[in-house]
């Protein structure tokens, strides 16, 4: 008897499945994480209630979630936009860091009133992020050098440069810590409410901008088309070169702005290792939200909730924040699995009568 597993690509994904998949995968990941929690003697229901219900319903929790959303959504868009053009930018981390660095430099070294200084910082950060992103984009567009590898490696270059700057040229006057001086009031992004800074408004504007770009403009049409079939797109007269550079530079600029708004709006000074891998979390965010910029925002909110909820779990239940990272990774791993079941139908067939196979004749046959 022979069990045969037959995979067939689905011709059309049933509508219910495309909505159910993300929900089910998140639930599955939470279920597996529950086992992890049980191992360390934490009631998973209590933990999840704290993380997913109390955090977003308390004022502080909500504010923290919104604050964390800002860099996440901007980095998420930095991955999302190239993804729409069929490219993989896994260097949002570096673009975010380099933006924070360039913006901080302006904030610390240029004296202007806040109305002018903050926009200048944001602009510089955007340019720096865009410039870093332009390298892999150009290498890909011009020479077909794989953008995945180059964007990733440039991230680590950016992280080291940050480390160098805060230890060397930009180190603050107080003490030996690898960090800059505190930003002046003029260099601080103003607060909106409850410590939530103006960066949130900027991020939302950028989400809307990206949404409109993709759904209301010719450029968006070109990006979508090139992302789906670049050969047909070129045949129709669209330019791969232009679009590849554009999506990467725009994405890099968004990430850069995300970086400086986190520094100027939340942390107040630039430190080495100032952020917990937002640029990498951006990859699953873009994957979850790849259908539209709005969904990227929703995915960012969800991950921001995981971050802040994780911090709360740490504070109130003594659960290490590292668990959040585990849960995040699990969600994505399950999401990938879910993708598969969405795309393929699996049939099991049990076959009787195995045809007797001629026994292999061993030995040389010269």
């Amino acid at each position: 008897m022979n069990v045969e597993i037959d995979l067939t690509a689905r011709e059309r994904v049933p509508r219910w499945l495309s909505y159910a998949t993300p929900v089910l995968t998140v639930l599955a990941a939470l279920a597996v994480s529950a086992v992890v929690l049980l191992v360390i003697d934490v009631n998973p229901i209590e933990a999840y209630r704290l993380m997913l219900i109390e955090t977003p319903t308390s004022e502080i929790g909500m504010a923290d979630t919104l604050i964390t959303t800002v860099p996440l959504v901007l980095a998420g868009l930095a991955v999302y936009l190239p993804l729409k053009a069929g490219l993989f930018n896994i260097g949002a981390e570096g673009q975010l860091v380099i933006g924070a660095l360039a913006g901080s430099w302006v904030g610390l070294n240029v004296s202007l009133p806040g109305v002018a200084l903050v926009p200048l910082m944001l602009l510089t950060a955007g340019i720096a992020g865009g410039a870093l992103a332009a390298i892999p984009a150009w290498l890909r567009a011009k020479y077909d050098v794989n953008e995945i590898i180059t964007s990733l490696l440039l991230s680590f270059v950016a992280l080291q440069i940050l480390s160098y700057m805060v230890r060397g040229p930009m180190r603050g006057s107080s003490g030996n810590f690898p960090q800059t001086d505190r930003f002046s009031a003029a260099a601080t992004i103003p607060e909106l409410f409850m410590r939530v800074h103006l960066g949130l408004a900027i991020a939302l504007l950028i989400v809307v901008f990206t949404y409109l770009l993709m759904t209301r403009t010719r450029l968006g049409f070109e990006i979508t088309f090139i992302g789906s079939n670049d050969e047909a797109a070129e045949q129709a007269g669209m330019s791969r070169y232009k679009v590849y550079l554009l999506v990467f530079i725009l994405g890099g600029a968004f990430a850069g702005i995300g970086g400086i708004s986190e520094i100027s709006g939340v942390q107040g000074r630039l430190r080495a290792g100032f952020e917990p891998g937002y640029g990498f979390t951006a990859i699953p965010i873009a994957l979850l939200g790849r259908n539209s910029a709005i969904k990227v925002l929703l995915a960012s909110l969800f991950f921001a909730l995981l971050f802040t909820g994780g911090t709360n779990m740490e504070i109130f239940l003594g659960i290490p924040a590292a668990l959040v990272e585990v849960i995040q990774a699990l969600i994505i791993l399950f999401l990938i699995t879910g993708e598969f079941f969405k795309r393929y139908r699996i049939d099991f067939t049990v076959e009787r009568d195995p045809t007797p196979t001629p026994s292999e004749t061993a030995g040389g046959d010269a």
Binding site: D6, L7, T8, V36, F88, I90, L139, Y143, D144, V145, N146, I148, I149, T150, L152, L153, L154, F156, V157, L159, Q160, I161, S163, Y164, R167, G168, G277, F280, I283, P284, L287, P320, A322, L323, V324, E325, V326, I327, Q328, A329, L330, I332, L333, I336, T337, E339, F340
Partner: protein, 330 residues
């Protein structure tokens, strides 16, 4: 200066071992067509797994074994997702790193306090001591931990396996053209699984070397990006074990130099023309953090140079890298 050089060389050998082990593992996986960006995560789990078992059992060898198993366990997730479920290799790999980092930080925090007797230096038997006494290079060459020697031995073994065994030949064919390999009766899925999991074992061993021999302690996140350097190293070495050996020592020396960069000072005399520019430039280039960017920059340069200068069908990159394979059914 001799003492400094000797110390640097010693540290280089030990640092290079990390890159050799992790790099060879990644190389095997990539030659079979599967990119695994989870090296950092697999290394961390190897480091922690190895450390815990060593603390509990007191045996570094059991620890090393545990490290290998931990790396393999994580790699099998990647293998299942990418080979059976045809998931995107990039995303799965990055998530594997997140998972490995998270899990080891989570479970590893309470092991930080522990101390172990890690692998100690072993001298080459018989004539060993005389060789070790050779100034500067003596200890670097002839007095190292067992893992250093194992890593060194694995380079020719991997080379031999890939180029002079049927399994190696089949593995390469799977990474070049899985469809054709399937036609010729090669077990595509089995070999890809094998390559990814063996690759994970190598990464686990690299991590175990880090915690059991290199630093002899456990700190969350102790790989400090070395897994990513290993990924870069495979590209730098253009997918060949022998070049990887060279690259690993180069990157290993950079790694060792970073820790010692403060002890270094090169400068030209103040009266030399352009001294005002040259000296700060040297300082900048010799800075530890700046030196840490060299492996990445060098890799980007090598990759770009290779892609631009080589005809596309002669590139060193395995032709089917990143491509999932599904048997065509009619």
């Amino acid at each position: 200066m001799a003492g400094f050089l000797g110390g640097l060389l010693n540290a280089t050998v030990s640092a290079a071992t990390v890159f050799i082990l992790a790099g060879l593992g990644e190389l095997i996986s990539e030659r079979a067509g599967v990119l695994n960006l989870g090296v950092e995560g697999m290394m961390l789990s190897g480091a922690l797994g190895g450390f815990i078992v060593t603390v509990v059992t007191g045996s570094t060898w059991l620890g090393l074994f545990a490290g290998i198993v931990a790396g393999m366990a994580l790699a099998s997730i990647h293998a299942f997702l990418c080979i059976s479920l045809k998931a995107n290799q990039v995303i799965s790999g990055v998530m594997l790193t997140l998972l490995g980092t998270g899990l080891t930080t989570f479970y590893g925090s309470r092991w930080v306090e522990n101390s172990i007797d890690g692998f100690s230096q072993v001298t080459v038997p018989l004539v060993g001591q005389y060789l070790v006494d050779i100034p500067v290079i003596g200890t670097a060459l002839f007095s190292n931990t067992p893992t250093d020697y194992i890593a060194l031995a694995l380079v020719p073994i991997t080379w031999y396996f890939l180029n002079h065994s049927n399994m190696g030949l089949e593995l390469i064919s799977v990474g070049e053209d899985p469809e054709m390999a399937d036609t010729m009766g090669v077990a595509v899925f089995k070999l890809r699984y094998l390559a990814v999991i063996i690759g994970g074992g190598f990464a686990g061993a690299a991590g175990a070397h880090l915690s059991l021999a290199f630093s002899q302690l456990w700190v969350p996140g102790m790989t400090a990006g070395r897994g990513w350097i290993a990924v870069a190293l495979v590209i730098f070495a253009q997918w060949t074990p022998s070049r990887m050996l060279v690259g690993a020592y180069l990157f290993g020396m950079l790694d060792a130099l970073q820790l010692r960069s403060q002890a270094l000072s090169f400068s030209v005399g103040a009266d030399t023309p352009l001294a005002g520019i040259i000296n700060p430039t040297i300082d900048f280039l010799m800075n530890g953090q700046i030196m840490a960017t060299y492996p990445y920059l060098a890799t980007i340069l090598v990759l770009s140079y290779a892609v631009i200068k080589t005809k596309s069908d002669r590139l060193a990159v395995p032709s089917a890298l990143l491509q999932s394979y599904s048997r065509e059914t009619d």
